[in-house]
Structure formats: C-alpha cells, structure tokens
C-alpha cells in the first residue's frame, strides 16, 4: 500500500473515531507541547538575557562579602576606603566604578510625610546604569554634588507622584535626613529587568556622603559592595584574579573560605542559565514520560483497533492485500495519530510559550528546530509503538481474519 493511500484511510478512521482518537493523542499532545514550550521559552529567555547583557554591557563585575563564609549574625568583613582606592588606581581597563548604600527614611514634601528608600550612590553610578536608569528630566547626580555636599536628589517617577502629585517635581524641595533637598532630576520609568541593583521607580538617589554620614556617623566608612565596569572582558578576568589575590593577602581566609566574593556579570548570567538548564531538563523528563505514556496509549488503541477490524483485515487480504500492505496500513495509522497529536501539541506549546513571553516581557523567539524535533519524536513513537499491533494484524491469515465474529 502506498503512503498516500494509507494516510487517506487513516483519516477515514480518525473521522469515524474522533473522541477516541483525541483522547488517545493526549499523551503525545502533552509531550510535544512541553518539549516545544520549554524550547521556545528557553530560547526567549536567552534572547532576553542577551538583551539585558547588551543593556549593561557584560564587562561588569562586583565584589561583596561572601555570605557563605559567615555564621548567622557574625559581622562581615567589609571593604575600606583604601581597598576601593587601590582598585580604582591599579586595575587596568577600568572605566567606571561605584559604591552605594541603601537606607529607608521618612521624607516630607508639601507638608505631608512619606516613607522613602534612599540610594546613596557614588560618582559613576549613572554612567554604568545609563541604559537601565535613564534620566527623563533634569540631570543625573555629578561628582561635584558629593564633593561640595550639595543637597540635591534625583527621584523615581513613582515616588515623585507620591510626593508632589501632578505637579512637576523639578526644583521642588523634599526633606529627609534632617535637611531639605532640591530635586534636580527625574528617572524614566523602569522596563522589566532581570538583573536589579535594588533600585526601582520609588527610589530617591542622593549624593553618597549624606547617606554614609547617617550610617557611619564619625566612624570610618566601609563599603558593602563595589561595582566596576571595564572596557573589555579580558580586563574583567584579569581584575578578578588581582582582586581575589589582594583581598586574600590582606584579609586572609575565614575557616578556609574566602571573605569576599568577586562576581562577574557573566558568571551571574551563567548561574541563571544553569537554573534554566535544570528546569529544562525537568521539563524534558516530564515530556519524555508523557511521550512514553502516550506511546503506550497509542499501542493500546491500535491493538483494540486491530481486534475490532479483524473482519476488515480479512476482507482486505481477500481482495489482494499482502502482509506488508496490512503492516504498513496500521503503522501509518499509528504514525498519523501520533503526528496529528504532535501538531496539536506543537501549536499549543508555541501558544503557551508566546503567552509566557508576553507576560514576562521576553522577546518571543520561535524555535522551528523544537517543532521539527517534536514531530520527529512523535513519528518515531508512532512507529515504535505501532509496530507490534501492526505486526499482529499482518500475521493473521485471511481465513482466520474472516471467520472472527465481532
């Protein structure tokens, strides 16, 4: 029997047993669906990460206390001014660097109080985050603001609304940390983002010394985190080694563990990628299991079909069907069932992935390969699990088949 004829007959059978065929397909549906969905979501996630990386530049790294080394409540060793100066002076290829502090405070504007989060940023903050923390109005904070202790601030669009209502916040005054600050800039609303430095649309940025004075009083300043941006990736790798050596020599290990962690943006992304890989693997396992279950369902229904249609098999043999014609007919039926299930699954998977990408604001990247692989797997399942029932059908002799009473 040629394939075209086999397919035509398969559709006759499908039409006659719509509900049963659909139910039988469910396992294949779900298997291919999860395969396609996770592939597209994975691709889109990576596309999204790529976009994020491009936004910040992947030449970013930061150093902070290695929390793993410390017991709960144990005081962390923090960088001091000398360390930060040393890194700024000596690391080759360094373009920008910033430290920052974060505190909650109570702000008063137009006679009304409001709790706000203050971000005490250092000189280069707005350079490094130029893409993700754009200035919509006015200006960013400048090195001079800190040097001359100017009481100015840059406000997020949301907190600006809370503090000043519909009025233009530019040039308005708001009081916190015991003095009045003038608003010199407003940031643009933030796009959805994967990496965050802790700021958002409710943040108020102020020159760092005001916040440091509140935290440390007269004591020596310490830095919880230092964020650096280099001109190129080799410089980042070089900096990692030099900083780790420097910090280990100066502060030593704590119970065999490093006191600081030097993290590249790359590594950070890598960790996210690893999480994605684990999730993908889990989904693939689920997909494989449902394909297997689906395949067994197909085998079961094909065995039922062969039994139900024994008379038909006998008639076909009586009019000239050879064993291999019967074999290929039932094999084609199983494959058509699986492929149809695969198509439905792939379509649903793509739709689910598209919805997920829209909700997460990720770029939707269609994966044709996953659809092709999904359909190939469905075909293979059809052949694998259809073979036994089809073989059973083909082993009948015409007389046996015709004599069977159904």
């Amino acid at each position: 029997m040629n394939i075209e004829e086999g397919i035509r007959q398969s559709f006759d059978v499908l039409r006659a047993n719509k509900a049963r065929s659909l139910l039988t397909m469910l396992g294949i549906n779900f298997g291919v669906l999860s395969l396609v969905a996770i592939s597209i979501i994975g691709l889109s996630f990576r596309g999204f990460i790529g976009r994020e990386m491009a936004k910040y530049g992947s030449e970013i790294m930061w150093v902070f206390a290695n929390n793993r080394a410390y017991a709960r409540g144990e005081p962390r060793t923090q960088l001091d001014g000398a360390d930060v100066d040393y890194f700024r002076r000596t690391l080759p290829g360094l373009q920008y660097s910033t430290t920052f502090y974060y505190i909650n405070a109570r702000a008063v504007a137009r006679g009304r109080g409001q709790s706000v989060s203050l971000f005490g940023v250092d000189t280069d903050y707005f350079q490094i985050f130029a893409a993700s923390r754009r200035i919509a109005e006015g200006r960013a904070l400048l090195p001079d603001d800190d040097l001359y202790r100017r009481p100015v601030c840059v406000v997020g669009p949301e907190i600006a609304g809370l503090l000043f209502g519909a009025e233009d916040p530019m040039g308005k005054r708001v009081s916190f940390l015991g003095r009045a600050f003038t608003v010199v800039g407003v940031t643009a609303p933030q796009e959805s983002t994967f990496v965050s430095d802790g700021t958002d649309d409710t943040t108020i940025f102020v020159p760092q010394s005001f916040v440091a004075a509140r935290i440390f009083g007269g004591r020596e300043k310490r830095y919880y985190v230092l964020l650096l941006k280099f001109s190129d990736l080799p410089s980042v790798d070089n900096a990692v080694i030099r900083m780790e050596n420097y910090l280990e020599k100066k502060y030593g290990l704590l119970r065999g563990e490093k006191r600081f962690r030097v993290m590249k943006f790359d590594t950070f992304i890598q960790i996210a990628d690893n999480v994605l890989n684990i999730v993908s693997l889990l989904v693939l396992v689920i997909s494989a299991i449902s394909l297997l279950v689906g395949g067994l369902g197909i085998m079961n229904i094909m065995l039922v079909t062969v039994t139900e249609r024994t008379q038909e098999i006998g008639m076909r043999m009586a009019v000239g069907a050879r064993r291999r014609d019967v074999l290929s007919q039932f094999l084609i039926e199983a494959v058509v069932l699986c492929l149809l299930g695969g198509f439905i699954g792939a379509a649903l998977g793509a739709v689910i992935a598209a919805v997920a990408c829209t909700l997460l604001a990720w770029p939707f990247i269609f994966s044709l390969a996953s659809v092709v692989i999904g359909l190939a797997v469905a075909t293979a399942i059809g052949i694998l699990f259809g073979l036994y029932p089809a073989w059973k059908a083909s082993r009948l002799t015409p007389i046996e088949a015709l004599r069977v009473e159904v």
Partner: protein
Amino acid sequence: MSLIRLRGIGKVYELGLARVTALKGVDLEVGDREFVTVMGASGSGKSTLMNIIGCLDRPSSGVYELDGRDVSRLTDSELAAIRNRKVGFVFQTFNLLPRVPSWRNVELPLVYSRVPAAERRTRAFAALGRVDLADRALHRPNELSGGQRQRVAIARALVNHPSIIFADEPTGNLDSRTGLSIMALFQRLHGEGATIIMVTHEMDIALHARRIIYLKDGRITGDERIKKPKHADKELSKMADLEEDELTEAIEKHS
C-alpha cells in the same frame, strides 16, 4: 484446458488434540466460463472448498492447478497477488467498509495492484455501472439496502477483471426477491463471459447455475449439468406482475 483442476485435495483442521477432516480427496475440474453451484449439508465442507479454490486457504494435501499453475506451494504474497488479479470474492455478509462511499469500497482491489488514483476511480464507477449502481457511487453502505450492498460487493469482485468470481452464500442474508435479483445479475455476468462458482443452501437459487456439485462429508458425491436453468429475469418479471394484481386475486391464485 480447465481453468481449475483439483487432484485429491484434502483439508484437515488441527484443533489441539482433535483433528477435523473437512475435505477428503476432492477431484474437480471447472472450465472457463462455467457457472457452478456447490451444494451440501451444513458442515459438509463447501466453504472450505471455496476458500481453497479461491486461494484464501491452502489444502493439507493434493494438487491444485489454477490456470495451469500449481498454486498449492505458492508463498503468501504470491497468493495475495492471485486473489488480487485472478479471483473476485463475494461474501454472505458483504464485508464492506462501513464509513467510506461505495466507489471507494469498489476500488480496493485496485489499490493493492497499484493502479493510479484517477484510473481507480473511473474503473470503480464503471464496475458500479455494471451492477446498476452508478447512482449510488457516493453513498456509504449504511445508506444502502441489503441487495444494493451485495451489488457493491459484486462490483468490488469485478473491478480487477478476475478470471473467476467466488460467492459463498451471496443470497444468504437477503430476502428471496432480492436474492433473485442477485441471481439475475450473476446470469448476466455469466452471459458476458464470467466464470462463477457459488455456494448455496437453496435449490431455488442453485438452479440458476449450469452445473451443481454436491458435497457430503468432505467428498463430492454428485456432479450434474443443469439442462434447463431457471431464468431469474423472467421470475422477477412474474413477481412484478403479481404485485400489480389486486391483493385478493394474488391470494386466490396462490391458495
């Protein structure tokens, strides 16, 4: 030369320990363009014999030559090819695919001889024309009467121009009038040159053939030519006349 030549054909069914001997040394010759009826009591081996002659089954012993060729030693697919091209089967229970239109039932033998789709369709419609069902080509079997279904099955048996048509109790599931119309069709096909071998229980039906073979306990015990076969068309027109008469007259005539 005979179309069919059986020499000492035996058939034994093995059922575990029990053995059933269905045929015991059957010798038979059937020539081209014959119209033969096989009769005999239930269990006498009629179907077994038909299945062997029709290459649906193999004999346990003996030699069977079809068209001068020994078919008792052929492989499964060689037998399938013979069933496809040389033989046309008509079953008591029609054996049609219920969900596809008549013409697609009729084209099936052509599917297995790899005839291109367009030609299959033309030939299927032509075969339906020969059994006067051209106007039912697109109907599915469940939209047809029993007699019409059997005619679709006969068209299927005819479509690949076989040398012989086999019919195992073709009228067994039909009322006598419809049975007669099938006999009329067989007689017409026979007149057009077909070789027909048919099994039946009913003498009324058997007498439409030209030769009757009688089977008893797996042996041929009678083989006679029919000098004056019944003419199905005439019987049918008589029945039609009867229908046109008044019912009371008809009752009087028959009592």
